[in-house]
């Protein structure tokens, strides 16, 4: 693959992407590029296609029976560009390299430890000691280790919402992805728990490329390096970090699109 058309700091490049469910077109001929080691936020009114766009990146829309995706979607994984919509691309490989955190915390109804080690065991084939190491590392990365180290064998569902969400993030991080997709990760959390996640995201961008769908404009301003405004299935505007912090500019976007 000729890599010249891609800028060196890009991680994801979308060209004329269309996604439709049955006859309903949700993403309409959209193009954009997301930079690596940045927090790229996608905002937009309800029903504008934010989640669909996010799930197009790890081809999670494909599990819906009536979903059709067309266009081009290039992702740089292990320093090589992959056209992930080509027939040769494996969604399983892709999803191992692209972690995802959902709107509502969704730990498995099993122990805290098994939530993280199950995927490691099945996907990576690591030895027990290596799995333990990854378990500790990932929990430390999300600052959950001190809170749960004495009760790793307890059910994950006894944790608070914020802790569960951090556990889900740790589960993703343990697989050492390159990109993390977050679909309104703080929408079901209280103020304090949301702040913790925000802080975490700012730390994580040093190592990972983050794409965050957010419902909160304030939060988006606090954490984003770049903002993509989605309207009616199309990226209608892109805001650089300078524009995000320009009050006048940002309020105009809010008024125009929300």
């Amino acid at each position: 693959m000729v890599d010249t058309k891609f800028q060196s700091d890009w991680k994801i490049h979308i060209e004329n992407l269309c996604v439709r469910f049955g006859s309903k077109e949700v993403i309409k001929n959209t193009s954009a590029s997301f930079s690596q080691n940045k927090i790229n936020s996608i905002i937009g009114p309800s029903g504008s296609g934010k989640t669909t766009l996010l799930r197009a990146i790890n081809r999670l829309n494909d599990i819906e029976e009536n979903c059709y995706t067309s266009g081009k979607l290039f992702i740089k994984l292990e320093d090589k560009w992959h056209n992930i919509l080509s027939n040769y691309s494996s969604p399983v490989y892709l999803r191992r390299k692209i972690g995802m955190v959902f709107q509502h915390p969704n730990p498995l109804p099993t122990t805290i430890k098994r939530n993280i080690t199950l995927a490691l065991k099945i996907i990576t084939g690591l030895s027990r000691s290596e799995r333990e190491e990854r378990l500790i590392n990932s929990l430390q990365q999300v600052h959950l280790w001190d809170e749960v180290k004495d009760r790793l064998k307890k059910p994950a569902l006894i944790l608070s919402g914020g802790q569960q969400q951090r556990l889900c993030l740790a589960r993703t991080l343990a697989l050492e992805p390159e990109i993390i997709l977050l679909d309104e990760p703080t929408s079901s959390l209280d103020f304090k728990a949301s702040k913790r996640i925000e802080q975490l995201l700012l730390e994580l961008k040093q190592k990972y490329t983050l794409i965050v769908v957010s419902h909160s404009l304030r939060q988006t301003r606090r954490i984003s390096d770049k903002v993509y405004v989605l309207s009616n299935g199309k990226i209608a505007q892109e805001l650089s970090s300078i524009q995000i912090h320009d009050d006048q500019m940002f309020y105009k976007v809010a008024e125009d699109f929300f």
Binding site: I63, V92, G99, M100, N106, A119, I123, R171, T172, L175
Partner: protein
């Protein structure tokens, strides 16, 4: 506002009394059975005049006890669940996970149709099968334990298919996305994440089908059960079973004592199914813990 409140109160009272009614009926049934059968419960009811140890090791044949019928029922349940569980669960998984949408409706229709077949008709199918084998394959074919087990397995198959299908598809949407989003293959997702989450509901289906296999009389009447035949020596011989024994006693008892033995047999049948339910419950607990 006041009207809504009254309706709500009425509904509450109605639902509450329905619950109480159900519990009372079950309690009355068990109480009645206990009252009628208690005086007869004992080793004599089960083993007759034969010493229990000799009967257990098969040294002496029991003629006037229900031991052969208990053994027959036990093997019938085990055989038919061994046949139906793998088939039913696999079909449920296929329908929920792999079946194309356009075929799904057709399969569901046939499964509903199968669920609607009366057990006596299912027994007739078993009987016809034996006739066919008798005519075209071997004249030695006769109704027997395996034919009954097969017919019963087909009788309970729709329960197993439906409960598995519903258990898998009723997992919340966000939980269904966990496996794929972590990069699990479809099979790994099914095996390690979704099936363990569905165990509880699938086992409910299994329990239901065990109950059905234990109690059904119509199917076995046409496919190999006999009133007196002793313990069958293979799956190709005739056998005794508790529900048929109870039916036979109820229809043709000649003395009060014989009738009382029928009640005793009913209680034993209830105990056997109760024990099997309990075992399934323990397996479920174990599986949940293991996961």
């Amino acid at each position: 506002m006041k009207r809504t409140q009254t309706i709500e109160n009425f509904l509450f009272l109605y639902c509450w009394s329905c619950g109480i009614f159900l519990i009372t009926v079950v309690a009355c049934l068990i109480g009645f059975l206990l009252y009628k059968s208690m005086p007869n419960i004992g080793l004599k009811l089960i083993f007759g005049d034969v010493h229990w140890y000799k009967a257990l090791i098969g040294k002496q044949i029991v003629f006037d006890g229900i031991w052969p019928a208990m053994v027959g029922t036990f093997f019938l349940i085990i055989l038919s669940t061994v046949i139906s569980i793998p088939l039913g669960i696999s079909a449920g998984i296929y329908l929920s996970e792999y079946c194309p949408a356009n075929l799904k409706a057709m399969f569901s229709f046939f499964i509903d149709l199968l669920a609607g077949i009366p057990s006596i008709v299912m027994g007739l199918f078993g009987f016809s099968l034996v006739l066919l084998i008798h005519k075209f394959i071997t004249p030695a074919a006769n109704t027997c334990l395996i034919v009954s087990a097969l017919s019963l397995a087909f009788l309970v198959l729709p329960y197993l298919i439906k409960t598995t299908q519903i258990a898998l598809s009723s997992i919340p949407k966000e939980s269904q996305l966990i496996g794929p989003s972590l990069g699990f293959s479809k099979l790994d997702d099914l095996w390690h994440i979704r099936l363990p989450q569905s165990t509880k509901n699938i086992l409910s289906g299994i329990i239901l089908s065990i109950g059905r296999c234990a109690e059904d009389t119509a199917v076995i009447m046409l496919t190999g059960v006999v009133a007196i035949g002793g313990i069958s020596d293979s799956i190709f011989s005739k056998y005794e079973a508790l529900p048929f024994y109870i039916f036979y006693i109820a229809a043709e008892y000649t003395s009060a004592e014989e009738l009382a033995r029928g009640y005793g047999a009913s209680l034993i049948l209830l105990t056997i199914t109760g024990t099997l339910f309990f075992v399934s419950y323990m397996i479920r607990k174990r599986l949940e813990k293991r996961w």
